[in-house]
């Protein structure tokens, strides 16, 4: 039997302590307190009050939800315009021309893969613009193909991923990285969409989850495609998993002499994917469990094999700030657009 000696509500969790403090201040000021919190306070019951506070504290104002949706719209627009440029269907002829070299190398079957993925990204932007953002009283920001620089050069057109416009291996690596960034970004934002008892928030959250898993499907397919072209690179799992963390998890072994900027970007995109410690909250306390050292994993193999499996078994989130740091290079600096 495993005994976990994890600290509860310890350092990993500054957020909840912050929100608890904020909430306490609100209570002191006489702000409205939910009946459960009030009941918990009245009963002097710490677990009841803590549980209720945590739920209250995480409640999001519509503006926070709108912020998530508008952020998602920018990421989806980036993805959509990227694939359109790759396929030569962008409204921006310069971007179509930029990818002409690599386009000629894409097989008919891989073209079909890209078209299917692009269709989904278009559907995601349409849904966010036409349904989700208006639901919260907002308007989707205006982004066009010209606002992006898919070389990662912040508008120079000469960034660290320039080779993706001429070499298929690079292109597929960028596509995989873009999809995995999408998966991690949605995962990181899901909690901001969680508002129990708000029907509109349910729409936003469930839609985000359903888009999130589609991005994971895309990433898995591209990984399998890359593996089929690099059969010896076992980092590119046939199962579509992210194996390990950091730049090694990109499976970029087939890329000779990658630019330092690309290595750095991939390090950010896959940073922390090797985490095996995850938090669960039981209404009273948050506990961290290390998935690599659980009992019952013996059939997997030795400790190293168990850790590898534990790293693959959980996809990790990225914070909004982390995502912004990754995508900043793909946005033209002179566009008049600022990332939120």
């Amino acid at each position: 039997m495993t005994i976990s000696h994890q600290p509860i509500l310890d350092g990993v969790d500054p957020e909840i302590m912050d929100t608890l403090v904020t909430r306490r201040d609100a209570i002191r000021r006489g702000a409205s307190v939910s009946s459960t919190v009030a009941a918990g306070l009245a009963m002097g019951s710490v677990p009841v009050m803590m549980a209720a506070l945590s739920k209250d504290a995480y409640a999001q104002a519509p503006s926070a939800i709108l912020d998530v949706l508008q952020f998602a719209f920018i990421l989806e627009s980036l993805e959509n315009e990227f694939y359109k440029a790759v396929l030569g269907t962008s409204t921006n002829s310069a971007q179509n021309a930029a990818f002409a070299g690599v386009r000629a190398q894409i097989s008919a079957s891989a073209q079909q893969v890209f078209r299917q993925i692009q269709k989904h990204e278009q559907q995601h932007t349409d849904f966010l613009r036409g349904t989700a953002i208006p639901l919260f009283g907002g308007r989707a920001p205006s982004w066009t193909a010209n606002d992006f620089d898919f070389t990662g050069g912040s508008g120079s057109g000469n960034g660290p991923f320039l080779q993706a416009t001429t070499q298929l291996d690079h292109l597929l690596l960028v596509a995989q990285a873009v999809e995995d960034t999408g998966v991690r970004a949605y995962k990181g934002q899901a909690g901001r969409l969680l508002v129990n008892g708000d029907d509109r928030a349910d729409v936003a959250l469930e839609s985000a989850l359903r888009i999130h898993s589609v991005e994971a499907r895309h990433a898995a397919k591209i990984r399998r495609l890359r593996r089929s072209m690099n059969m010896n690179d076992t980092t590119l799992r046939f199962s579509g998993y992210v194996m390990g963390g950091g730049v090694a998890a990109a499976g970029a072994g087939n890329i000779a002499n990658p630019p330092a900027g690309a290595v750095a970007a991939l390090g950010l995109i896959y940073g922390g994917e090797d985490n095996t410690v995850h938090t669960v909250f039981n209404g009273t306390a948050a506990v961290n469990l290390d998935a690599a050292t659980l009992s019952g994993l013996d059939v997997i193999g030795d400790a190293n094999a168990r850790r590898q499996a534990a790293m693959m078994a959980f996809d990790e989130p990225l914070s909004k700030e982390q995502v912004v740091a990754i995508v900043r290079g793909f946005i033209r600096s002179d566009s008049g657009h600022a990332l939120p």
Partner: protein, 281 residues
Amino acid sequence: MAKNTQNSADALVVADADELMRPTTRRNFVRVMGAGGAVVLLPGVFSACSMTPGMGATGTGATAMDGGALTFDLRSDIGIFRLVHTLEQLEAAFYTAVVGSASFGTFFNAGERELFTDLRNVEIVHREFVRTALGSQAVPDVTGSINTTTLNAILSSRDGILGAARLFEHLGVSGLNGAGKYLQDARNLLLAGKFVSVEARHAAALRDLAPPSGQSANTAFAGDDIIDMNGMDVKLEAGAALDRVAATNLVRNGAVSSRNISNAPTATQGKASANFFPTTP
């Protein structure tokens, strides 16, 4: 990574959260928390919740599934993770049987065996993680309730294995996509999110390897039958997901079905939406 805070002046060690309800322990809890300290809970995580309204757990840990005692109270995060635990158990048991079957080496080539072994390993990690988190609220071992006639029929052909695997992965994706809105804590939602994208990777890989009838080999990974007009993936409410488990007849006597749901989520947790799931995922 886990820090051992035993015997530290600012840590409180409790065997279960009920201890927190006892006056002496509770005073210590308040003192420790006030000092920015830690509480150490042994050993199950979710077993703590039975005293918390809205987090009420049902089901006792020791009963067999055939006994009809397996229940899911979806008014709590515990109940939802019990459901997840059930699915993860079935998946892990299924892939363990696949990888261990006599025909594994003949039905599948090296790359396919790599895939199935990864799936087995990852589902075992999921199963053990949720079991550990649930502690005394964990779902009883399901392996004794598996219908071996059904399992052997599935294992007797490559297509049978691939079809069942696709179904299970899609039940995982759709169930988690449907349940997320009912979770009450953002950290538990994040945990569910960490699971669901991994299940989606499985689902895509399996469909890519073996597209269902009528699906293009190049688009099956996210085909038009499983992704709707808004670019959204499958989703099922819990009862529908469980009934599809029952329909596989992989668990004896329909021991896992929507009748296991003792309480649906409340309206304040979330609003049910239309299911989206193909006949043959």
